[in-house]
Protein backbone atom coordinates (compact mmCIF):
# COMPACT_ATOMS: atom_id res chain seq x y z
CA UNK A 1 0.00 0.00 0.00
CA UNK A 2 2.84 2.37 0.93
CA UNK A 3 4.59 1.51 -2.31
CA UNK A 4 1.48 2.32 -4.33
CA UNK A 5 0.99 5.64 -2.56
CA UNK A 6 4.61 6.63 -3.27
CA UNK A 7 4.28 6.10 -7.00
CA UNK A 8 0.83 7.52 -7.38
CA UNK A 9 0.77 10.32 -9.95
CA UNK A 10 -0.22 13.73 -8.62
CA UNK A 11 -3.01 15.41 -10.48
CA UNK A 12 -2.13 18.85 -11.87
CA UNK A 13 -4.06 21.45 -9.91
CA UNK A 14 -5.65 24.49 -11.46
CA UNK A 15 -4.01 27.78 -10.36
CA UNK A 16 -5.98 29.46 -7.61
CA UNK A 17 -6.57 32.95 -9.03
CA UNK A 18 -7.76 34.36 -5.68
CA UNK A 19 -4.48 33.32 -4.05
CA UNK A 20 -2.44 34.73 -6.93
CA UNK A 21 -4.11 38.12 -6.66
CA UNK A 22 -2.89 38.43 -3.07
CA UNK A 23 0.56 36.83 -3.54
CA UNK A 24 3.52 39.19 -4.04
CA UNK A 25 5.98 36.54 -5.19
CA UNK A 26 4.43 35.54 -8.52
CA UNK A 27 5.94 36.49 -11.89
CA UNK A 28 4.22 39.55 -13.32
CA UNK A 29 4.20 41.49 -16.59
CA UNK A 30 3.08 45.11 -16.54
CA UNK A 31 0.80 46.48 -19.30
CA UNK A 32 0.40 50.22 -19.84
CA UNK A 33 -2.60 51.96 -21.44
CA UNK A 34 -1.26 51.77 -25.00
CA UNK A 35 -0.61 48.04 -24.62
CA UNK A 36 -4.24 47.44 -23.60
CA UNK A 37 -5.36 48.89 -26.93
CA UNK A 38 -3.66 46.13 -28.91
CA UNK A 39 -5.54 42.91 -29.69
CA UNK A 40 -2.49 40.58 -29.50
CA UNK A 41 -1.97 41.32 -25.81
CA UNK A 42 -4.98 39.35 -24.57
CA UNK A 43 -3.95 36.07 -26.20
CA UNK A 44 -0.51 36.55 -24.70
CA UNK A 45 -2.03 37.07 -21.23
CA UNK A 46 -3.87 33.76 -21.45
CA UNK A 47 -0.84 31.87 -22.76
CA UNK A 48 1.32 33.30 -19.96
CA UNK A 49 -0.98 31.92 -17.26
CA UNK A 50 0.21 28.43 -18.27
CA UNK A 51 3.74 29.51 -17.31
CA UNK A 52 2.45 31.19 -14.11
CA UNK A 53 3.08 34.70 -15.40
CA UNK A 54 0.23 37.06 -14.56
CA UNK A 55 -0.74 40.43 -16.09
CA UNK A 56 -0.61 43.54 -13.95
CA UNK A 57 -2.31 46.85 -14.73
CA UNK A 58 -2.24 50.07 -12.73
CA UNK A 59 -5.12 52.45 -12.03
CA UNK A 60 -3.48 54.95 -14.36
CA UNK A 61 -3.16 52.59 -17.33
CA UNK A 62 -6.67 51.20 -16.84
CA UNK A 63 -8.09 54.72 -16.48
CA UNK A 64 -6.31 55.94 -19.60
CA UNK A 65 -7.58 53.01 -21.66
CA UNK A 66 -11.12 53.41 -20.31
CA UNK A 67 -11.02 57.15 -21.00
CA UNK A 68 -10.11 56.51 -24.63
CA UNK A 69 -13.01 54.07 -24.95
CA UNK A 70 -15.52 56.49 -23.35
CA UNK A 71 -15.23 58.87 -26.30
CA UNK A 72 -16.13 56.17 -28.81
CA UNK A 73 -19.63 55.10 -27.70
CA UNK A 74 -21.88 52.91 -25.54
CA UNK A 75 -21.31 49.68 -27.48
CA UNK A 76 -17.56 50.13 -27.21
CA UNK A 77 -17.79 50.69 -23.45
CA UNK A 78 -19.81 47.51 -22.86
CA UNK A 79 -17.48 45.46 -25.08
CA UNK A 80 -14.40 46.81 -23.31
CA UNK A 81 -15.95 46.05 -19.91
CA UNK A 82 -16.74 42.50 -21.00
CA UNK A 83 -13.20 42.03 -22.31
CA UNK A 84 -11.58 43.21 -19.08
CA UNK A 85 -13.90 41.12 -16.87
CA UNK A 86 -13.22 38.05 -19.05
CA UNK A 87 -9.45 38.60 -18.82
CA UNK A 88 -9.70 39.08 -15.06
CA UNK A 89 -11.68 35.87 -14.70
CA UNK A 90 -9.44 33.64 -16.82
CA UNK A 91 -5.97 35.26 -16.68
CA UNK A 92 -5.82 36.63 -13.12
CA UNK A 93 -5.45 40.26 -14.17
CA UNK A 94 -4.46 42.39 -11.17
CA UNK A 95 -5.13 46.13 -10.88
CA UNK A 96 -2.78 48.00 -8.54
CA UNK A 97 -2.64 51.60 -7.33
CA UNK A 98 -0.03 54.20 -8.19
CA UNK A 99 0.73 55.26 -4.61
CA UNK A 100 4.10 55.10 -2.88
CA UNK A 101 6.27 55.52 -5.96
CA UNK A 102 7.76 58.95 -5.29
CA UNK A 103 11.36 57.87 -4.64
CA UNK A 104 11.36 55.47 -7.64
CA UNK A 105 9.80 58.19 -9.80
CA UNK A 106 12.53 60.67 -8.82
CA UNK A 107 15.24 58.15 -9.69
CA UNK A 108 13.64 57.48 -13.10
CA UNK A 109 13.56 61.21 -13.83
CA UNK A 110 17.22 61.35 -12.78
CA UNK A 111 18.12 58.63 -15.29
CA UNK A 112 16.04 60.10 -18.12
CA UNK A 113 14.51 63.54 -17.63
CA UNK A 114 12.91 63.49 -21.10
CA UNK A 115 10.34 60.89 -20.10
CA UNK A 116 6.83 62.24 -19.63
CA UNK A 117 5.05 62.25 -16.26
CA UNK A 118 2.69 59.37 -17.14
CA UNK A 119 5.44 57.21 -18.66
CA UNK A 120 7.57 57.69 -15.56
CA UNK A 121 4.63 56.77 -13.31
CA UNK A 122 4.01 53.58 -15.34
CA UNK A 123 7.67 52.61 -15.08
CA UNK A 124 7.82 53.38 -11.36
CA UNK A 125 4.66 51.35 -10.68
CA UNK A 126 6.07 48.38 -12.63
CA UNK A 127 9.35 48.53 -10.68
CA UNK A 128 7.57 48.94 -7.35
CA UNK A 129 5.44 45.85 -8.02
CA UNK A 130 8.51 43.84 -9.11
CA UNK A 131 7.38 43.14 -12.67
CA UNK A 132 9.69 41.32 -15.08
CA UNK A 133 8.53 42.76 -18.36
CA UNK A 134 7.09 46.18 -19.14
CA UNK A 135 4.82 45.91 -22.19
CA UNK A 136 4.06 49.05 -24.18
CA UNK A 137 3.35 50.45 -27.66
CA UNK A 138 4.56 53.92 -26.72
CA UNK A 139 7.44 55.01 -28.95
CA UNK A 140 8.97 57.17 -26.21
CA UNK A 141 9.63 54.07 -24.12
CA UNK A 142 10.36 51.47 -26.80
CA UNK A 143 12.82 53.73 -28.63
CA UNK A 144 14.92 54.43 -25.55
CA UNK A 145 18.66 53.98 -26.02
CA UNK A 146 20.35 50.75 -24.98
CA UNK A 147 22.32 52.61 -22.29
CA UNK A 148 19.16 54.09 -20.81
CA UNK A 149 17.32 50.73 -20.82
CA UNK A 150 20.34 49.18 -19.15
CA UNK A 151 20.31 51.84 -16.43
CA UNK A 152 16.61 51.19 -15.80
CA UNK A 153 17.28 47.44 -15.61
CA UNK A 154 20.10 47.98 -13.08
CA UNK A 155 17.94 50.27 -10.99
CA UNK A 156 15.05 47.78 -11.13
CA UNK A 157 17.40 45.01 -10.01
CA UNK A 158 18.38 47.08 -6.98
CA UNK A 159 14.66 47.29 -6.13
CA UNK A 160 14.20 43.52 -6.43
CA UNK A 161 13.02 43.02 -10.04
CA UNK A 162 15.19 40.51 -11.82
CA UNK A 163 15.47 40.72 -15.64
CA UNK A 164 13.46 43.94 -15.94
CA UNK A 165 12.95 44.73 -19.60
CA UNK A 166 10.88 47.14 -21.72
CA UNK A 167 9.25 45.33 -24.62
CA UNK A 168 7.19 46.44 -27.59
CA UNK A 169 3.78 44.81 -28.01
Amino acid sequence: MIFLNKHRKHKSKKPNLKKILTDNHTRKWYYDACALEGEKVYDEMYTNTKFKIYPLVSHLSFGEAYGNVLDKGKKQISDFNRLISTVKEHCGLKVVGNDGIKSIYNKIQEINSRLSLTDSIHLATAIKNKCEIFKTRDGDLTNLSYVCKNKFAKFAKSKGCTNFNIQKV
Partner: protein
Protein backbone atom coordinates in the same frame (compact mmCIF):
# COMPACT_ATOMS: atom_id res chain seq x y z
CA UNK B 1 -7.36 35.55 -33.84
CA UNK B 2 -10.13 33.05 -34.51
CA UNK B 3 -9.14 30.94 -37.48
CA UNK B 4 -10.68 27.91 -39.13
CA UNK B 5 -7.85 25.80 -37.78
CA UNK B 6 -8.23 26.92 -34.16
CA UNK B 7 -11.98 26.38 -34.27
CA UNK B 8 -11.66 22.92 -35.78
CA UNK B 9 -9.45 21.87 -32.84
CA UNK B 10 -12.21 22.61 -30.36
CA UNK B 11 -14.97 20.35 -29.18
CA UNK B 12 -18.15 20.73 -31.18
CA UNK B 13 -20.19 21.12 -27.98
CA UNK B 14 -18.02 24.08 -26.99
CA UNK B 15 -18.65 25.71 -30.35
CA UNK B 16 -22.38 25.20 -30.08
CA UNK B 17 -22.37 26.94 -26.72
CA UNK B 18 -21.37 30.27 -28.21
CA UNK B 19 -23.82 32.87 -29.33
CA UNK B 20 -21.69 34.31 -32.10
CA UNK B 21 -22.72 34.18 -35.75
CA UNK B 22 -19.15 33.81 -37.05
CA UNK B 23 -18.43 30.76 -34.90
CA UNK B 24 -21.89 29.29 -35.41
CA UNK B 25 -21.26 29.25 -39.14
CA UNK B 26 -18.10 27.16 -38.74
CA UNK B 27 -19.68 24.97 -36.08
CA UNK B 28 -22.48 24.28 -38.52
CA UNK B 29 -19.99 23.35 -41.20
CA UNK B 30 -18.17 21.02 -38.86
CA UNK B 31 -21.19 19.23 -37.46
CA UNK B 32 -23.23 19.46 -40.68
CA UNK B 33 -26.35 19.74 -38.59
CA UNK B 34 -28.67 22.60 -37.88
CA UNK B 35 -29.24 23.59 -34.28
CA UNK B 36 -31.48 26.02 -32.45
CA UNK B 37 -30.15 29.06 -30.60
CA UNK B 38 -31.80 28.22 -27.27
CA UNK B 39 -30.18 24.81 -27.05
CA UNK B 40 -26.60 25.95 -26.84
CA UNK B 41 -26.78 29.07 -24.68
CA UNK B 42 -26.48 27.09 -21.45
CA UNK B 43 -23.42 25.06 -22.51
CA UNK B 44 -19.99 25.71 -21.03
CA UNK B 45 -17.56 27.94 -22.95
CA UNK B 46 -13.80 27.27 -22.88
CA UNK B 47 -11.71 30.17 -21.45
CA UNK B 48 -9.61 30.81 -24.55
CA UNK B 49 -12.72 31.03 -26.71
CA UNK B 50 -14.36 33.32 -24.18
CA UNK B 51 -11.40 35.70 -24.48
CA UNK B 52 -11.32 35.37 -28.28
CA UNK B 53 -14.97 36.31 -28.57
CA UNK B 54 -14.52 39.35 -26.32
CA UNK B 55 -11.50 40.41 -28.40
CA UNK B 56 -13.38 39.88 -31.68
CA UNK B 57 -16.32 41.95 -30.39
CA UNK B 58 -13.97 44.80 -29.48
CA UNK B 59 -12.26 44.54 -32.85
CA UNK B 60 -15.61 44.70 -34.64
CA UNK B 61 -16.54 47.99 -32.95
CA UNK B 62 -13.12 49.46 -33.70
CA UNK B 63 -11.58 49.56 -30.24
CA UNK B 64 -8.11 48.40 -31.14
CA UNK B 65 -5.41 50.46 -32.75
CA UNK B 66 -3.54 49.03 -35.72
Amino acid sequence: MITKKSISKLNINELKGINDSYIKRYAKKLSKTSFKANNYRSKKISPILDIEIAVQNCKRVGLFKK
